[in-house]
Point group: C2
Chain length 450, copies 2
Amino acid sequence: MFTAKWLNPSALLTDLYELTMSQVYVEREMLAPATFSLFVRKLPSNRSFLLAAGLWPLLEALHELRFNEEDLAYLESLKIFKPTFLDYLKNFRFTGEVWALPEGTVFFENEPVVEITAPLPEAQIVETLVINLINIETAIATKAALCVLAARGRPCVDFGARRTQGLEASLHAARASYIAGFSATSNVLAGKLFGIPVTGTMAHSYIESFDREEEAFRAFAENFPENAVFLVDTYDTLEGARRAARVALKLKERGLLVRGVRLDSGDVIELSRKVRRILDEAGLSEVKIFVSGGLDEKKIAEIVSSGAPVDAFGVGTKMGVSADAPYLDLAYKLVEYDGRPRMKLSEGKITYPGRKQVFRRYDAAGLFYEDELGLREENLPGKTLLTCFMREGRLLEGTPPISDIRQRAAEEINRLPVDIREGRRTPAPRTSEALLRLHRETVERLRERL
Amino acid sequence: MFTAKWLNPSALLTDLYELTMSQVYVEREMLAPATFSLFVRKLPSNRSFLLAAGLWPLLEALHELRFNEEDLAYLESLKIFKPTFLDYLKNFRFTGEVWALPEGTVFFENEPVVEITAPLPEAQIVETLVINLINIETAIATKAALCVLAARGRPCVDFGARRTQGLEASLHAARASYIAGFSATSNVLAGKLFGIPVTGTMAHSYIESFDREEEAFRAFAENFPENAVFLVDTYDTLEGARRAARVALKLKERGLLVRGVRLDSGDVIELSRKVRRILDEAGLSEVKIFVSGGLDEKKIAEIVSSGAPVDAFGVGTKMGVSADAPYLDLAYKLVEYDGRPRMKLSEGKITYPGRKQVFRRYDAAGLFYEDELGLREENLPGKTLLTCFMREGRLLEGTPPISDIRQRAAEEINRLPVDIREGRRTPAPRTSEALLRLHRETVERLRERL
């Protein structure tokens, strides 16, 4: 359980209308089970799949959710809530059921990532929390997965902490990118909380605070003989690389191996070739070249396809905020209440009513072939993706090791055909006959009433 | 002080290299004062000014920053740090000086938002925190300011909580958008923490959980007679508006005024005209029309310039993540150490060395005319923008009421000439002779050493 340590969610972190609507529900005893379905209506234009993440932070938050005395005093001070409702909130616990895609599952439009069934006010009050946590981690995990694919086996490291949207976001980014296949993070707290390997190099300020660059390298290597990566572009990249090589050679004589050098600016394709030559000519072929600075999957692909001798990537801001798709079109929609299917009748947008399941099929080679979106009670061919994680507010299993989730993500992405992996095809699920029928019937019932 | 309540920063939320570099500084007794300058190198292409925010959360975080026992045990477990350095961290306090632009100040490229002077390891360790908090709140405050300008006096309300990048980010977004001139937030916790007015309407799920739409409206109005805004687009917008009007009329007979109706989908320009007519013909000219759904400054400007009878805007995701510019090109650069100016010699990018001040000049009409970037000790004409907030780790004043910051932001934006406000001109500061000279001398000194 890491909830209390970093997420520390207050039940007050919700939209006011969740509480006003819930007062009406409580007043009118509308406490029957409601099912809300969280799904992405349409993938961002530059995504051909999504990688589910954020579920365990959400489950732990749901499990711990309470309104404390101070929260209740604040709500009372707003002078809009009835004492009976404030009493209801005082005893508020999430007692519902959560079905979800396990973290690390690949999914597509209209497929539920999470389905929550709970007494109507409970399912309503958690809306903000549910959307928020799945949104950020799924958006970032997907972006990070694209970077990992582009790097073609070269390690990617999360350098995002300084420019994520808030401090908590940096933890989500470290977690989500590790799930997606990143090798490590620079974020020390994320390392501690999630057991992710932590790593780092040195900053320009470090070099500048010494009178001589070579002295800066030497001092670092003396302190961290097994973890030295020299940043060589502070003054003159090639001169910096020669100095780094001199220090590395001295260390090698003492049996100590410098891990690498880092390039953070300039034409890194060209520079990496020249720096490689400098290192190789000095007999330092084992010293690796790290590249950072404004990287995303496009820049990484460009470097990799150029054949530049780059061994690893430090990926920061653009992954950490999923810069080209900083949010998902995630909707949390009521699909059933009190045993009856529910939906909105809007033009252009289809929301399917009812509790659902996703049935995934693979081809003979074991690659993803298609998904079918059906009703939960249907028994269609394929692997069922939605799993029950929580029942009556109780977690059915403990928090899995992050390495298991990371493993699942790797397998899921490996099973995608290459055209999806490379963004040339964006699948959408088939819709089962039963679901289409339920949709039709619900539309008719709602139209009659209009 | 709200730090402990929501931000709860751990000193471990830093990049590993801040700690490894700091061990070297501590080992070598490089504890002389270092000045780091935080500035935006280049504004995002669709921003002609930035609105500073995030300073008070940062100041409070700096003031509280500690490594606790658990943090130190984790660092020890990494087996890379020396006991002497872990001892240093055990007693770590931020004892430095902070100069900064007061929150709500308009600023431009290369102008320091924050300048920190502290013993080198302290100034280094806080880097991640400093960039992160100023980055998110400034990015969002600026985006929100554009929405407020576009709305031309109509209230904007923050609906961003569900899709900000994490829960903490939703608090930054509520705070930053209120500073920028938003009228309220839907985020209840933000209301409690920052004293921002909270507001809200109702969701489609609320309407759908009733058998009849009109009953849903009536139930809400009975519970919240002075705060009812009916969402009318769940099934059929115009029919919904007629039902809302019937309920509103019934309430009016009892002396209760419904605040408004909300449109969240469809062609809101066209629909708002038709809904206005329905309301007016029912004698409900006082009932307002709220619009939400995918709004940003462009969409708001389109609605406003169409003359559509829209009274207020609910602005969510695109403001809450600053969707078209989700991060700023913020750099935290060493500019002075141990009494000597420092800088990086990179191609294309200029970083000015030395502690700085920004001198702002206004024209005869009191409008912004130009900024000059100079050295802190210079005495140039103009209003000095950077102010000392912290000295020897002590805050020089208490957290100001957010209303004061919001007031300053409004005044600052009002003093911008219309071409800057409308994005047609992006000023850059002049550079003082003394600063140019210091830059030249530093370049020469560094080149000599190369």
